[in-house]
Symmetry: C2
Subunit: 501 residues, 2 copies
């Protein structure tokens, strides 16, 4: 991490190729940096570099890198491709050792020679490079935002539209080989309410790559879960070696594109990535404990589960529902993924039957697992049955399908609080489902999320996320790292996730 | 359809077991019917039946079924289970031939004998029954809403929360064996902006089942797509026979739960459904052209595609994107599902190269398919390239991945209109993707949907929906029904979907 420190939290940032034209990346980036600086979000000082301007956006402009003050330790480069190697040499001469190259037009369009020149310049000058052909870095904790995508669009009629919102501060890091996937992912993440620690768009990754960033994020205190969007991995052996260490402490989820022959052809023309056979990646991810996501939806569904909940010690799922059909669908998906939904036989069964005799749970409610409270479900039934399931040694995790539409749930948000309250007394994972987009559904899921119970709009998405937790848990158990991970997870939960209702 | 007409559009509705207690289904249902009647949404007259009340909710209450006026042709039954057969006999004597039995407590809790009694009463009295153990019917076109789930919840602090919203009038019918899945699905559907023609909760389906309803919906002019949530099919042979005819005219999508042994056990305790081996269902659905959905998300994703767009004539997908990574992910998913993303070689390739020479599309943009307009994409590039792809005989369908975050899209809603405008000139399916939950993303997807271009938040969901279209299209081609389906589809599009921007 130390050697990449300036990328995480620079003292001074220069925009080399700063522009007066509002549409240009060199303008957008400078403007965002200055705004964040003014708002007190960004601590670093900001310096535009442009030989043909005295000032841009009211800030003094430097004619060249040479003139910059010594406090600058990070440069954002947006000059045309052919000038980039030269700028990098100048940075080295000035003692600026970190640069993000936004500029495109290198190997991805066939300019392999220019990319090699860039790498040589970087090596010679002792400058570390992220990019080229990337959209930059966004680190909410340090306030560094070098993305050249404005957060709003101004329409012809003057209306301003929220367009590329930035996620709030949080504990999930994202490394993306594709800039567009990265921006789209940030928009998705912001809407899902998942907080970000750092976002790195690595583009053609001529120098700094996912391996080095994984290593750096391992040491980063604000990062608890690491997400990767990759089209290829060049340093396979190092990747596996580093990832194997990282995953003992922090879950890593990878979305790896270029899985099919046609997909690899598409990837080759996108980031010049030679994707390689998919099975090799599957085996590598498996070996180093990386959980693979099939798409963007899974990437963030898994991230939420891994961030908020501990991994289970086994595959046995307890399903608690007020909708029989939802219980059936969850059971199907669990069994199809290799989790189990065991029929309860021992202590838990007796306890649930006792609750039936006492009239807490209706006598006609199926309780063998799924525990189906039926449409007569109430908050009290949910909390009583949840406590039994979490206390049972027949069950490693619990899925709460609390469809809010039943009449016996007077206030969905209140029930979410009760479920969260109980689940915190145990160290088994609890995930929740409520279906629909009504205010009630959205508020209930949001409250679950806020209280550290990851909530999903369908049973299947929740089960897939639970399965991701179990894949990670079984890896930790195999590696003998389960206890140490749990220790650090529980400390994290205490500090960050636990919130009094 | 004729024999079930009263379920679709009754002249007079009686609530047998109407109640004064606000929490009881017999109260909620009556209230909703009266409200809809007052608002002019429901044309049918509404009559409460309760031997112990003179009036409920300000409406005269009838002591018995016998006293009801002759215009009543549908009864909603909410009396306790043991009284239901008797009520059915009374309905028959009165000449009321249709009843929805909301009451639970039959075979699903082991009361097989009582359920048999109910069926015998129905046969004897000549009364057709939907249910028991169901949540009723909702038909936005006739205004009939017998669901006992209020659309709002009143919280302790007096706030009123939208809780079970009803979808607007539309062209998608839903038949659900599970009441809870049904209500949850309606909430989901309302939020996704998919209009409903009819919703039937069929519960234990002692009499009217999915087979008869499929037949009735085939003849229903407001229904264009039929969705099924099933846990079992009892009349397998008739189901296949009827469905095979329906699918020549209207797409049918089925979500069939109880796929695994544990799932079947759960289904058995839910609706007493003997689910049978999943492979049998797969084969049956395949045979009669029913598209199978894996979960609720797919159910509605597929419904949107099948409602708005024609099925393609072949599996060859053109992918148009402004995000290379999104293009790679879409390509992967397409190829994994059995669609193809062919490298363009002929006329289309030449046309796209000509556009590059003219400077319409950047020279460095990969155009072999995916056509990747890169982060420099503009509206003009999208429309020019889309026209080429839709005109090409190498391509059967087009996926437009218009990630709105790129700077060159000044107004995402405007671009959606341009894409819709062009796609209407062709009869190939066009589906769209924009990722994220920002205002820009949500507005763009909504506009696409409004204009009949189904839009999805991830490439993978769009590709799966496109694959559903192709599965349906290939079935029609195999059966020789493609042309007749297309004729009726295009008429529908002209009448209902086509809207001038």
């Amino acid at each position: 991490m130390e050697k990449l420190a300036s990328f995480f939290n620079p003292r001074g940032v220069a925009v080399v190729g700063a522009s007066r034209e509002p549409e240009k990346p060199g303008h957008v980036i400078l403007r965002m940096l200055l705004e964040n600086r003014q708002r007190g979000v960004l601590r670093a000082d900001v310096y535009p570099v442009n030989p043909n301007a005295d000032s841009i956006l009211g800030v003094r402009c430097y004619k060249s890198v040479r003139e910059l003050p010594d406090s600058v330790d990070l440069a954002i480069i947006v000059v045309p491709a052919k000038f980039v190697p030269e700028v990098v040499l100048e940075l080295g001469a000035k003692g600026i050792r970190s640069a993000v190259v936004i500029t495109a037009g290198f190997s991805e369009v066939g300019n392999v020679e220019l990319e090699r020149e860039l790498l040589e310049a970087a090596r010679k000058a002792g400058v570390r490079i992220i990019g080229p052909n990337c959209i930059g870095i966004f680190s909410p904790w340090s306030g560094l935002d070098t993305l050249f995508i404005p957060s709003t669009k101004e329409l012809k009629d003057g209306r301003v539209l929220e367009s590329a919102p930035r996620p709030a501060r949080g504990y999930v890091a994202l490394i993306s080989q594709s800039g567009a996937v990265g921006t789209a992912a940030l928009d998705y993440m912001a809407g899902e309410g998942i907080g970000l620690s750092h976002f790195f768009s690595i583009g053609n990754k001529v120098d700094v790559d996912e391996v080095e960033l994984l290593e750096a994020l391992r040491a980063d205190h604000s990062t608890r879960v690491i997400l990767l969007y990759l089209e290829n991995v060049r340093r396979g052996r190092e990747f596996v070696k580093v990832a194997s260490e990282v995953t003992k402490e922090k879950p890593v989820v990878a979305l790896k594109a270029g899985r099919t022959a046609a997909g690899r052809r598409a990837a080759a023309s996108h980031t010049a990535a030679l994707a390689g056979v998919d099975e090799v990646y599957n085996a590598a991810f498996e070996r180093c404990g990386i959980v693979r996501a099939a798409d963007l939806e899974e990437l963030f569904d898994f991230a939420k589960a891994l961030l908020y909940q501990p991994p289970p010690r086994g595959p046995r799922v307890g399903i608690l529902t007020d909708g029989g059909g939802a219980g059936v669908m969850a059971t199907d998906m669990a069994e199809m993924l290799g989790l189990t939904v065991p029929e309860l036989r021992g202590w838990a069964r007796e306890e649930l039957e006792a609750l039936q005799r006492k009239g807490v749970i209706p006598g006609y409610a199926p309780i063998a697992n799924p525990v189906d409270l039926t449409g007569s479900a109430t908050d009290e039934m949910f909390t009583a049955a949840l406590t039994v399931l979490l206390s049972s040694d027949e069950i490693d995790s619990v899925l709460v399908l609390s469809l809010h539409q039943v009449p016996g749930i007077p206030d969905p948000v209140e029930l979410a609080r009760k479920v969260a309250e109980i689940s915190r007394r145990f160290d088994k994972p609890v995930l929740a489902v409520d279906t629909g987009w009504s205010d009630a559904a959205v508020l209930m899921r949001r409250e679950y999320d806020r209280l550290g119970i990851p909530a999903y709009p369908t049973p299947e998405r929740a089960v897939k996320a639970l399965n991701a937790l179990w894949r990670f848990g079984s890896y930790l158990l195999r590696k003998g790292s389960y206890s140490s991970y749990m220790k650090s997870y529980l400390e994290f939960r205490e500090k960050f996730v636990t919130q009094k209702p």
